[in-house]
C-alpha cells in the first residue's frame, strides 16, 4: 500500500543553504495493509523525516512515495487516508484550546455538513474504541489529561477518517511504562482492522513487540530490514547487532557486541545497495561473510 522508492531528503543548512545535508538517503521499503512495520534507528537517523515526508509535511528531494499508487499530495484528499500521530502528546495539542478541538478541526474540514449531534455520537463511539471514557476526556484542556489519554485521543482523531495508513512517530516515548503498553496494544488492534501502520521508534523492544516487519535505519540509509523475528533473532548487520546489544534487558546482563573494528559498514552502507540474505531479509553489507557473527 505505502511504497517508498529510493527516497532521499536533502536539507539545505547554513546561510542561504550553503551546505547540504542528506537526512534520508535512498530509502526503499513498503508497508502493506494490515501490517505494522517498525522503523528503528538512533537519534538523527532520519526516522521522523521519513514520517514527515509520507505525511507531506516535508518535501521529498528524490525518489517517490506512493500510497496505493498515488504519490504524496498534501491536502484534504490525501489526509483522509493517511494520518499521523506524533511523539509528544502534549505538544500535539494547542495548549490554549480544549483538547477536543482536534476533532472539531476534522469535522470542519471533512464533515462540514454533518449535524452536531450525529458528529458527537461518532466522536464518542470512536473515543470508546480507543478505550477511553468520553465523559472523562471531552471538554477538557490538554493539561488536564494524561499523556496516554492524549495519545489515544489522537489515534481516535485519525480513526474518524477513512484511514488506510497511520504513521506513528515515537508515540510512546513520552509515556510512562504502564500507559505505554496500552497505546501499543491499540496500534496492534488497528492493524487487525486492516490499517497499515508505520511505527517509528528508537526503542527496539517496542518495535519488536508490535511489528511484523522491521526496518533498521542508520544515518539516513537502511542497514537491515526484514521480518521482525529475523532481524531481532538473527541480526546480520553489525550495526543491528551492536544496537541490540546495547538494549538493557531486565533479566539478562548487558552483552558486549562483537568488536566492529574490522567492519567498514559505514562506507558500504552509503552505497545503498542491499543484499538479500534470505528471502525478505535484506542487509546493507557487502561483507557479511567476513563479519564475525
Amino acid at each position: 500500500m505505502l511504497k517508498l522508492d529510493n527516497v532521499t531528503k536533502v536539507y539545505k543548512v547554513g546561510a542561504f543553504g550553503g551546505k547540504v545535508f542528506a537526512a534520508v538517503d535512498g530509502v526503499s521499503f513498503d508497508v502493506q495493509a494490515g501490517e505494522v512495520v517498525s522503523l528503528i534507528g538512533e537519534s538523527g537517523s532520519g526516522k521522523s523525516t521519513i514520517g514527515k515526508m509520507i505525511l507531506g509535511l516535508a518535501s521529498i528531494t528524490g525518489g517517490s512515495i506512493t500510497v496505493d499508487g498515488v504519490p504524496v499530495k498534501p491536502g484534504k484528499d490525501y489526509y483522509r487516508h493517511v494520518q499521523g500521530v506524533f511523539q509528544d502528546p502534549f505538544s500535539c495539542y494547542n495548549p490554549v484550546f480544549k483538547a477536543d478541538r482536534v476533532f472539531q478541526m476534522i469535522k470542519d474540514a471533512y464533515y462540514p455538513k454533518l449535524g452536531d449531534k450525529e458528529w458527537d455520537e461518532r466522536v464518542r463511539s470512536t473515543i470508546r474504541d480507543v478505550r477511553l471514557d468520553p465523559d472523562q476526556v471531552l471538554g477538557r484542556y490538554p493539561h488536564q489529561l494524561s499523556g496516554g489519554q492524549l495519545q489515544r485521543l489522537l489515534i481516535a482523531r485519525a480513526l474518524l477518517l477513512d484511514l488506510k495508513l497511520l504513521v506513528a512517530d515515537e508515540i510512546t516515548s513520552m509515556l510512562d511504562a504502564s500507559t505505554r503498553i496500552d497505546v501499543l496494544n491499540l496500534l496492534a488492534e488497528l492493524k487487525e482492522r486492516g490499517l497499515g501502520v508505520l511505527y517509528v521508534t528508537h526503542d527496539l523492544s517496542l518495535g519488536n513487540y508490535l511489528a511484523e516487519r522491521t526496518v533498521v535505519l542508520r544515518r539516513g540509509t537502511v542497514v537491515e530490514m526484514g521480518a521482525t523475528g529475523k532481524v531481532f533473532g538473527d541480526p546480520l548487520h553489525p550495526y543491528t547487532r551492536q544496537l541490540l546489544a546495547a538494549v538493557p534487558r531486565l533479566h539478562a546482563p548487558w552483552e558486549d557486541a562483537a568488536p566492529t573494528q574490522t567492519c567498514h559498514y559505514h562506507e558500504n552502507a552509503a552505497s545503498g545497495a542491499m543484499f538479500e540474505a534470505e528471502p525478505g531479509h535484506l542487509v546493507a553489507c557487502a561483507q557479511l561473510d567476513a563479519c564475525p557473527k
Binding site: 542561504f16 514527515k52 505525511l55 509535511l57 498534501p74 491536502g75 484534504k76 489526509y79 494520518q83 499521523g84 506524533f86 511523539q87 509528544d88 505538544s91 500535539c92 495539542y93 494547542n94 495548549p95 490554549v96 484550546f97 480544549k98 482536534v102 478541526m105 476534522i106 470542519d108 474540514a109 471533512y110 484542556y141 490538554p142 493539561h143 488536564q144 489522537l154
Partner: protein, 297 residues
Amino acid sequence: MTALQEVPAQDAAAPAGVRREALYFALRNGKLLTGFGIVLTLFLLGLLGPLFLSGTGSEYGTQPMQPPSAEHWFGTTTFGQDVFTQFVYGLRTTFVVGAMGGGIAAVIAMLVGFVAGYRGGLVDEALNMFTNIVLVIPTLAVLLIINAYLGVRSVGAQALFIGLTSWPWAARAIRAQTFSLRTRDFVDLARLSGANTWKVITREIAPNMSSYLFMTFILLFGGSVLIASSLDFIGLGPTEGISLGLMLQNANQWSAMQLGMWWWFIPPGAGITAIVGSLYVANVGLDEVFNPKLRET
C-alpha cells in the same frame, strides 16, 4: 529603551488553564496593577475629560501666564490658554497616536514575523533582509525626512509614518517566537487536518502567542508615543489639534522655561513619561504573570 529590546524568547505558550492562574497573578501583581491603573486613569481623563471642559484649550483667555490656581489647574499659557484643557486634549491625541502607530506597527510586525517564521526558507531570508534594512536605518532620521518633505498635517498621518517604521524589532521577535512554535506538533496536526498557512497562523500560532503579542503591542505603543512626541517637538507634528508633544514644543518655542512658566512644560512631559513608563512597568508585570519563572513566590 525596553521598547526596543528583543525580549528573550520565552517558553512560547501559556496553557489555557494557566490563564486563570495568570488572572490570579495579574490581580496580585503590583507592577501590572499600578501600571495599568495609571494608564487607565490618564486614558479616562483624556476620553471623558473633554466632556466636562469648556473649549478645546486653543482659545485665548484673559489671564495669560498664570501659575496653577483653582481656576486654571495647570495654569495658563502666554496666550491665556488653559494648560489643563490642553493637557486633556493632548492625552487624547497621544493615546490615538500610540494606539494607531503601535497598532500599525504591530500588524506589520505580525505579518512579517509570522510569515517569515512560519514559511522559513527563501521567504524568511527575504523578509529578514527587509527587516534588517528597516532596522538599521535610523528611524527618526527617516521620519524627519519624510515629514519634512511630505509634511504631516494630521495625527493619522503621523501615526501611519511611525507605524511604518517602528515595526522591525517586533517582527524579529515575533519571527523568533513563531519559529519555535512552528516546530510544535500541533502545527503539523493542524496541517494534517487540512488547514492552510493562513489558518495555521491565525488559529494555531497567534492564539498561542497572544500574551506575547499583547506585550509587543504595549512596547510598540509606548515607542510610538515617544517618537511622536519627538516629532512634535521638532515641529513636525500635526498642524491641527493639540498633543502633549506639541504642548512641549509650544512651551519651548514661547520660552516657558526662560520665563519660569514651569506649569507649561512639566505637565505634558510628565504625561508622556507617566503613560510610557506605566506601560513599561505594566509590561514587566505581564511578563511576570505569564512567565512562571519570574513570579515571586
